[in-house]
Symmetry: C2
Subunit: 421 residues, 2 copies
Amino acid sequence: MTTLDRAACEARDRTDPLADFRKDFLLPPETIYLDGNSLGPRPVGAAERAQKVIADEWGTDLIGSWNSAGWWDLPATLGEKVAGIIGGGSGTTVVTDTTSINLFKAASAALRMQAVDAPDRRVILTQRENFPSDIYMLEGLAEQLGDGYEVRLVDDAEVTAGFPEAMTDEVALVVLTHVNYRTGRLFDMATTTSAIHAGGARVMWDLCHSAGALEIDLAGSGADMAVGCTYKFLNGGPGSPAYTWVAEELVNRFAQPLSGWWSHAKPFEMSPDYAPADGIRRFLTGTQPIVSMSVAELGLDVAGRVDMAEVRRKSLALSDLFIELVESRLSDHPVEIVTPREHADRGSQVSITHPEGFAIMSALIARGIIGDYREPHILRFGLTPLYLGFADVWDTVEALRDILDNRLWDDPKFKTRGAVT
Amino acid sequence: MTTLDRAACEARDRTDPLADFRKDFLLPPETIYLDGNSLGPRPVGAAERAQKVIADEWGTDLIGSWNSAGWWDLPATLGEKVAGIIGGGSGTTVVTDTTSINLFKAASAALRMQAVDAPDRRVILTQRENFPSDIYMLEGLAEQLGDGYEVRLVDDAEVTAGFPEAMTDEVALVVLTHVNYRTGRLFDMATTTSAIHAGGARVMWDLCHSAGALEIDLAGSGADMAVGCTYKFLNGGPGSPAYTWVAEELVNRFAQPLSGWWSHAKPFEMSPDYAPADGIRRFLTGTQPIVSMSVAELGLDVAGRVDMAEVRRKSLALSDLFIELVESRLSDHPVEIVTPREHADRGSQVSITHPEGFAIMSALIARGIIGDYREPHILRFGLTPLYLGFADVWDTVEALRDILDNRLWDDPKFKTRGAVT
């Protein structure tokens, strides 16, 4: 067995086939950024792209840029790029609005399909540990629909077991996060989708915590719909627009209540009568934030250039190393690893718990190692292969060891909570 | 009577109290921009603001900027600025999402109020000539609600007459554009709101074509709700986020189906149970496009510095001049003015028709005078007092005269339609 020390980590960095992608991002100096699962860093060229959109497109061509700069087509143009990253296939994906809103649209559309195909099915299942906004949006939809529509929450174990209890003939739709945002648990898309279809329900995946971090084959899995954001592992910028994917055979069955003019078959005829566009434009609603959307293209282009299998290999190697170091170097402390040990069950983050998690993370951030904290007691570390190396993981765990061994977290300044953590 | 010629227009420009605001905008050279009612031009500082957000906030402070740069609070921060422009009052307005989506949220909330206050009222009235997206969204909502909810369209004349026919005891909500986007007709907010309330219905105003162009006193008018965009007369940038206003006494009755985590009382507790925030945060849904939203602040700040009464005076003077020149200089041609002559009925644009309207507008744009075209046969000219002068209006009508007198529009290159006009 080779010695596990910083030199060994540096050696792995020297032979890392993804090492050059570090140059595609502008990170502040003296920083180890382990929060790319919350907000990816800025790609090279992002500021220049914004400058171009504002000075040349908006500033010079003004209203003409809706055509000449391709603004009107950006949701579809960027959608094609997302489709390539998530295995969607051409003509299946748009970038628009927010994940929450796209989820509402897609869930509405799925329930309308089921109202035709299986009208007695009115239950939506989702994980109790799904990102809360997904649950809230589904509940908002069920409440709006009335007529017996309801949301039921299931535990992660129920999902991985193939819904032995929950999958009744009342279930219309299952909405699942692909990776649990707190624990980093990854759900198998193909087998889970098959189990849901065998139960007679439709499935929608939320890819916020997986797209850009691992290989996804939406079309191959047989999934019905998916949504996700572009600002985590896809590095699109703060609050950059989200996306909606719909299986090719369902695109023209997509009928949604947020039927704004961007979804109209002939939007510039300005008819008072609504008719949805053929194809993916029917997932849209209103006028999109062009500066944010244009900047998001930079991150998608980086993701489009990488071999996602290589990303996944390195992601698992980084998280294996992180787990090994936590176990070997922090064993004197009440630290627990909540991320699954099996590769097949693990996304691209490692989460650990400690009773003083919040203060520990604050102390870590104070020395330029940026992860984040989620209730209860969870320290999250996003492991992003494009700009993190093995020595970064070593340094992170060593910093944790220093903070724990010397109780450096036990300082009032690390215990004050801001509005957003 | 003074002679009406270019020199007289130049003289008026020299004494224009708003002339200095021209310096707040960066317009391309040799351009007369009459499309600010579709997309306002870029304010000075917009590119620098984007640079700051991308390089300093996103680039350097990364995830920390949600707190340190005030990203999380931007919807409310910008909302306060919009409230000042539309007479909303503090704590009543957020900037978020798109006009169409905000309209859906607010209409849903209004109908939920009526379901308690007047449950038999299930009809939504709106203008047949409202911007089509508003109609489509209301129809999408009514279809989703089922149970007898329906949208009925009324003519503008019915609105100005106070709804003698349409206001039955079935009407729950009236959604009205404040200014007709095609004709430029302005509806009186106070008297119309009173008529609607007298009929037992709630009212929502769409301010897309009025906010920033004239004085608005939402709170004083007694209106219930309003929505609007920031990219027309508020110069926020292409597709910059929209806003929602709710009367102060209704803020905490606002209950909407798009109940994402940004509307939650305690979003960072990450509870699976939804509870709306007290106050305006409950109008929100998901994570907002921060670059576009930050840039929008520049335009709001310009609007916040002007005396809107002065803006209105000049707007009417510009449109009076435009109408007078069209009547006197284009009288040999089949041109009709569709914008009302009465000041009280006129927004901040003049629309004229000509059977060859599309080709004429194309010819005009080719010489750097940018208005736009809307079906059927309508040439729209937005008259924006902050960066247009009286000589610009003179030059525009003279260019029109040249194009018409010499049939310069009769060229195939002016007759080809793009995807977006």
